[in-house]
């Protein structure tokens, strides 16, 4: 069917402020502002965690404190002592939508979460501040042994799985923000798909920062066992505050032999959120890991989803898009690491910069010694809408093997006067014409998204495009 990519059905007025609302909640518990061992221990205690996790958190805090800020990427100007690291919004998790407190329900209603679930999802989790407030999973998936829960619950109910994988794909000492998340993590999704189980519909989680000066540190762990398949979709938003907030997640994924995992993120943070996320998957023999990563909003995003191809035949595909506007820097990219022979990877990265926004592609293609016969291709396209905006490409290629094939292609284009004139001569307004050119530019990403997300993504792009041309 033909999609109506550029036909917003709602009046734009109501759309513009769609994500920019603040829900009045009291919260059940809020940790003190700032970060120290006491706060970390308190979070662990609140969650009644086993001793090993408590120790993991405290060790991670030490690593966080000892590591300097990254010297590359964007300017990070965060006062770590001015942030709330934990905020518990409800006394417990709702099993049915009715159990969720009204004000939180209203928030998610505005975001359209329950509707999304009814339409086509196999299961959904909604996280508000630090905790998952709502969760459901189709009965038959539960019967097949699929686990889809929040990570805190998983720690209580599936300690053996957590102990085996948690912090193993991304150890706390990987980087400063992975250490931070390891110390104060809360919520996030845990998915386990047993061998041979293929889930036809996406599992979805929705993350929302609502409180001011709130940090959100969700922790996601997905284990796709041999021959199993899952598509997980995550969406994130936050309202606009005058003070800056921090979102620093860690996502760890294991895809075992012949397994397949697709992880789709659409993030639309308010323009003062630091979005510093570490995402990594380990793909084993003949498996496929796909990251589809859309980044809109935020003040600074630093995010480079990675696939480590651990055994022969493993494949990694990363499709990433960044849209940066005034006062924003999207430092996004991807990493492919070939650790075994005959592995293959592909990165397609697209960025759009307007109104003085800055987009950077930062990517790594690494072939370890012995990973002969490996192939990687990187295609990186930037679209710049006006002379004030900026785009940079930082491709890192490290090859320690002879018999490999690595391709890198990059292009930068501006919306040209001729292209605009052509569309306008067909009755498009200048804004409509620009929006159409941008929609076309990101089409390779859009067609990979589930229908509903494709529509949403296009609507978000349209909102970003509003007022972009005089």
């Amino acid at each position: 069917m033909t999609t109506e990519l550029l036909a917003p059905t709602d009046p734009l007025e109501s759309e513009i402020n769609k994500y920019d609302f603040i829900t009045q909640t009291t919260g059940v518990f809020k940790a003190q502002r700032g970060l120290n061992a006491e706060v970390v221990a308190q979070i662990s205690e609140m969650k009644q965690e086993p001793a090993w996790m408590r120790q993991f958190r405290l060790d991670s805090l030490k690593i966080f404190e000892s590591k300097p800020m990254p010297k590359w990427g964007g300017d990070i100007n965060i006062d770590f002592n001015d942030i709330f690291y934990y905020l518990k919004p409800t006394a417990g998790q709702g099993k049915t939508w009715e159990d969720v407190p009204q004000e939180i329900k209203d928030t998610f209603d505005k975001l359209g979460i329950p509707e999304a679930e009814k339409k086509y999802l196999a299961g959904v989790k909604a996280q508000f501040e630090s905790e998952v407030v709502y969760g459901s999973l189709q009965q038959d998936l539960g019967d097949k042994g699929v686990i889809f829960t929040d990570t805190d619950t998983a720690l209580r109910e599936h300690p053996e799985l957590l102990r085996q994988y948690f912090g193993k794909i991304i150890p706390p000492n990987d980087n400063k923000f992975a250490a931070l998340n390891s110390a104060v993590w809360s919520g996030g999704s845990f998915i386990y798909v047993p061998p041979g189980v293929k889930i036809d519909f996406p599992l979805q989680a929705y993350f929302r920062i609502n409180a001011e000066s709130m940090g959100q540190f969700e922790r996601t762990l997905i284990i796709v066992d041999e021959g199993a398949e899952v598509h997980y979709v995550e969406g994130c938003t936050a309202p606009m505050y005058t003070t800056e907030s921090l979102h620093s997640a860690v996502v760890e994924i294991v895809v075992k032999r012949n397994g397949r995992c697709r992880y789709t993120t659409i993030q639309n943070w308010a323009n003062n959120i630091y979005n510093l996320v570490t995402k990594r998957a380990m793909a084993y023999g003949d498996s496929l890991m796909e990251w589809i990563d859309g980044n809109l909003g935020s003040k600074l995003t630093m995010k480079y989803p990675a696939v480590y191809m651990m055994e022969p035949g493993a494949r990694g595909e990363i499709l990433s898009i960044a849209f940066s506007s005034k006062g924003q820097h999207q430092d996004a990219g991807a990493k492919l690491v070939h650790c075994a022979p005959n592995t293959s990877g592909r990165i397609i990265s697209k960025s759009i910069s307007k109104n003085g926004g800055r987009s950077s592609y930062r990517g790594l293609c690494k072939v370890e010694d012995g990973a002969h016969g490996s192939k990687s291709s990187v295609v990186c396209d930037a679209l710049i809408l006006d002379p004030d905006s900026r785009s940079d490409t930082y491709p890192y290629i490290e090859v320690d093997e002879q018999d490999v094939q690595i391709e890198h292609e990059a292009s930068v284009s501006r919306i040209g006067e001729e292209q605009l004139f052509y569309l306008m001569s067909r009755g498009m307004t200048e804004a409509e014409a620009s929006s159409m050119i941008v929609s076309g530019f990101i089409e390779p990403l859009i067609k990979e998204l589930p229908m509903e997300y494709a529509v949403e993504m296009n609507r978000l792009i349209e909102l970003q495009m509003e007022g972009s041309v005089g």
Partner: protein, 279 residues
């Protein structure tokens, strides 16, 4: 009342360089006009300026459609007012499907009062019409799913331009070298299609057509009511179909000899172009 596209004393500069030096041309709906002239005489400049290309600065004169000042409007508004131009080199818009593009364009032009975000022409109605028009132009239905002009052959691009003209139903169409780069069969098909579209009654009147061309093939089935010769940025002579035939067979020497002033301007412009190329 006959609506007229009236171009009066039009002076146009590009990057400060005067190209058109007072063009007068009046087209009524239902009439077919041919605009001929040697390369660099300003034919395409006239098309682009009338359609509203922002780089083409009108320094003097007027363009009106049915009495409405077109120069006050941008290209989008001119399209909605009923103007159309088939481009010599249409731009590619990767990622945008022909069908989506055409549905937006068709809605915008046929319902100029529509505000952004309002409903488009119903999908069924649109599809049915698009299918018919594509069949007439002998286009593979798959064409509608391809990205606008992206990787199109020369012939496909020209056919896509004619398809747009058929769908948008303009009051006036300017065809800028629609025959260039086409083989004999393709020119015949284009020319038949243009004639057919031109005969359709839209809002009680036929389309007014301005064919910018070097060839006579496009004019065989679109017999011009008037033929205009442009030289040195001016229309120097106007005649009937016999003038088009004469120019096609005998070239522009007679015209240059008859209008030495315009021929001098033409020479100057050509030399300036060459200097730019050399420099």
């Amino acid at each position: 009342m006959t609506e007229t596209l009236a171009i009066k004393n039009l002076h146009v500069s590009v990057e400060g360089k005067p190209i058109l030096h007072g063009v007068n041309l009046s087209i009524n709906r239902g009439e077919t006009h041919a605009l001929m002239g040697p390369n660099g005489s300003g034919k395409s400049t006239l098309g682009a300026a009338v359609m509203g290309h922002p780089s083409y600065e009108v320094t003097e004169g007027s363009v009106t459609l049915g009495g409405v000042d077109m120069l006050e409007l941008d290209a989008s508004e001119r399209a909605r007012a009923g103007l159309f131009m088939a481009f010599q080199r249409p731009m590619a818009v990767p990622g945008v499907k022909m069908a989506d593009f055409l549905r937006h364009a068709t809605t915008n032009v046929r319902r100029p009062e529509r505000k952004e975000g309002e409903e488009l022409i119903p999908m069924r109605e649109f599809r049915k019409e698009l299918k018919e028009k594509m069949a007439q132009l002998r286009m593979d239905p798959e064409f509608a799913r391809r990205y606008v002009n992206d990787g199109f052959s020369g012939g496909e691009m020209k056919r896509a331009e004619i398809l747009q003209m058929a769908m948008l139903r303009p009051k006036f169409a300017i065809l800028d070298e629609t025959d260039s780069g086409l083989d004999v069969d393709a020119v015949r098909l284009a020319s038949e299609s243009i004639a057919q579209i031109g005969k359709e009654q839209l809002g009680g009147a036929q389309m007014g057509i301005l064919i910018i061309t070097h060839h006579d093939k496009l004019l065989e089935r679109n017999t011009p009511d008037f033929t205009h010769v442009m030289l040195g940025g001016k229309i120097v002579e106007t005649g009937g179909v016999e003038l088009a035939q004469e120019l096609y067979t005998s070239g522009y020497d007679r015209v240059r000899a008859a209008y030495p002033d315009a021929a001098a301007i033409e020479r100057e412009m050509a030399e300036a172009d060459q200097l730019e190329t050399v420099g």
